[in-house]
């Protein structure tokens, strides 16, 4: 697996970090705004944002006194490539099919 994919996997393995990333896919937000509804402290949010930035999953820009963050969904590419190469979507669906077959009558 290429190094960039490792960064992306690691960055998104944390549920809080993933929630932050998902919120940022819906639009630009400040650290302040992110902290308000994340349930963790501002220093923690900043730490998570640094990890997301290292994986290039978010970009930031200064505007006045605040820094605004935005998701870069295109950074998921190495991960999606890895998933698609292994047919992860269909693996997952066939697992669901197996569960359904167990529930079905003969």
């Amino acid at each position: 697996m290429p190094g960039s994919a490792n960064h992306v996997f690691k960055a998104l393995a944390d549920p809080t970090r993933r929630a932050i990333f998902e919120r940022l896919t819906r639009g630009e937000l400040t650290v302040h705004a992110l902290t308000e509804r994340s349930g963790v402290s501002q220093p923690m949010v900043s730490k998570h944002l640094s990890a997301l930035k290292r994986a290039r999953l978010v970009r930031n820009r200064r505007k006045g006194r605040e820094t605004h963050y935005q998701a870069r969904p295109e950074a998921l590419a190495p991960l999606v490539e890895w998933m698609s190469d292994y047919g992860a979507f269909w693996q997952n669906r066939l697992d669901k099919l197996g569960e359904l077959l167990e529930r079905m009558e003969k």
């Binding site: 998104l12 393995a13 969904p73 693996q91 066939l94 099919l97 079905m104």
Partner: protein, 141 residues
Amino acid sequence: MTTAESQLRSVIVEKEFPHPPEKVWRALTDSSLIAQWLMRNDFEPVTGHAFTLRADPAPNWNGIIDCEVLEVDPSKTLSYTWGTMGMGSVVTFTLTPTEAGTHVRVEQAGFRPDQEQNYRGAMYGWKSFMGKLENVVAGLA
């Protein structure tokens, strides 16, 4: 194989189920059953039937996959086109009876390199994608 064809990508996934082919076939071709393992749909097992598969919309993806049934060979082969965001591919399910039940082979063929961007967009839209990520990561060394 021509150059153009050799550039097409395909995904093949195989799995064996401890159930007879007829039962697996029902799960693959009954609309309400399809909804339980794949997506909401208006599928009918009739060659030429146009239908849609619907997932929850996501950023950059409307969640709609346009399909048309290509082949219906009961308990053996089911094939349909799979189009979303301008990307076209063909999904083929092949069922083979085994001693323990049924071997299912799924092949999705026809992603061209120039459709890669759409492919990524579509994949990004899968709801289960993010949810399953943690499990995927947990499985990594």
